[in-house]
């Protein structure tokens, strides 16, 4: 099968499919190609694992944004409220 041969050694294509697959957007043919490639390529297996890990960490960091302890300065808060009040007064 020519298509399998094409991807068997192509890590560029495989790593592209690894990204696409994470969002569920690959065809059955692509899925098979990727599976075939990964069977023989430990580097891309590692890539896949790390790629998923990076996505997870990002996702988590964004879900946890409110526990970062960052805060705005008191003077910024006062100024923001002043701006708001100024406009409230003229409404």
């Amino acid at each position: 099968m020519a298509t399998l041969k094409e991807i068997a050694y192509d890590c560029r294509k495989a790593s592209y499919l690894i990204e696409k697959k994470q969002f569920g957007n690959i065809s059955i043919k692509e899925r098979l190609q990727l599976k075939y490639h990964l069977t023989g390529c430990s580097v891309c297996r590692l890539y896949q694992q790390q790629s998923v890990y990076i996505s997870d960490i990002l996702h988590q960091a964004f879900a946890d944004f409110n526990s970062t302890g960052l805060s705005i300065s008191d003077s910024d808060i006062t100024n923001m409220q002043k701006e708001i009040n100024l406009r409230l007064g003229s409404m």
Partner: protein, 197 residues
């Protein structure tokens, strides 16, 4: 027969209280923005902007959602606008995407990993401190992405937007979108490998 107690009495809609907004929501909104734009000045301006837009549209606040949900939605739109602006100013010039981005992760002829960029084990410890540190480096690496990539990548990974919506917002084709997702991840991974190991 319908029992009256089954119906939860609707105790009225949420109302807007702009006179308390800054004290109540500024920190929350700031954290939300800072996680997405990473530049604190910009994050602060976005919060200020959000309050002012909200005020202009306060008549449209129907109280179906809480004030905080409503303000967050306004902020989110502002962030998407900013992404769009940044990516349209920065690299709309002529460089074709392929050329710009495919440097030497892979060998030209056969698509093998170039040895210098070949993935190596991160050797992650599964504890909270390493995870935090890893996330911090990841943030720094994200800042190195070209603005358009950063925008597309963030919208996908953080906001969970659909690919179609991102393509429309940022005016990119679906094919380019996937190229950007791929190259962004390759770059982030390489940057992590360089700074983590």
């Amino acid at each position: 027969m319908k029992k009256e107690t089954d119906a939860i009495p609707f105790t009225g809609r949420h109302t807007a209280h702009p006179e308390n907004w800054a004290a109540k929501y500024a920190d929350y909104l700031f954290r939300y923005a800072a996680a997405r734009v990473s530049d604190r000045e910009k994050a602060r301006d976005l919060v200020q902007d959000t309050f002012l837009s909200a005020l202009e549209n306060v008549a449209g606040f129907e109280g179906r959602s809480s004030e905080s949900t409503w303000l967050t939605a306004i902020l989110k739109n502002k962030i998407i606008d900013l992404y769009r602006k940044q990516s349209s100013v920065m690299e709309r010039h002529t460089e074709p995407l392929e050329k710009l981005t495919d440097h030497d992760f892979f060998e030209a002829g056969n698509g093998h990993w170039n040895e210098a960029f070949q993935p190596k084990e991160f050797g992650m410890q599964n504890d909270t401190i390493s995870k935090k540190e890893f996330a911090r480096i990841l943030q720094t690496c994200m800042q190195k992405l070209p603005a358009l990539w950063f925008s597309a990548f963030s919208l996908k990974h953080m906001e969970g937007e659909t690919s179609e919506k991102i393509c429309t917002s940022l005016k990119i084709s679906p094919a380019n979108f996937w190229v950007i997702m791929h190259r962004s991840k390759l770059n982030l991974r390489a940057c992590l490998q360089k700074n983590w190991l």
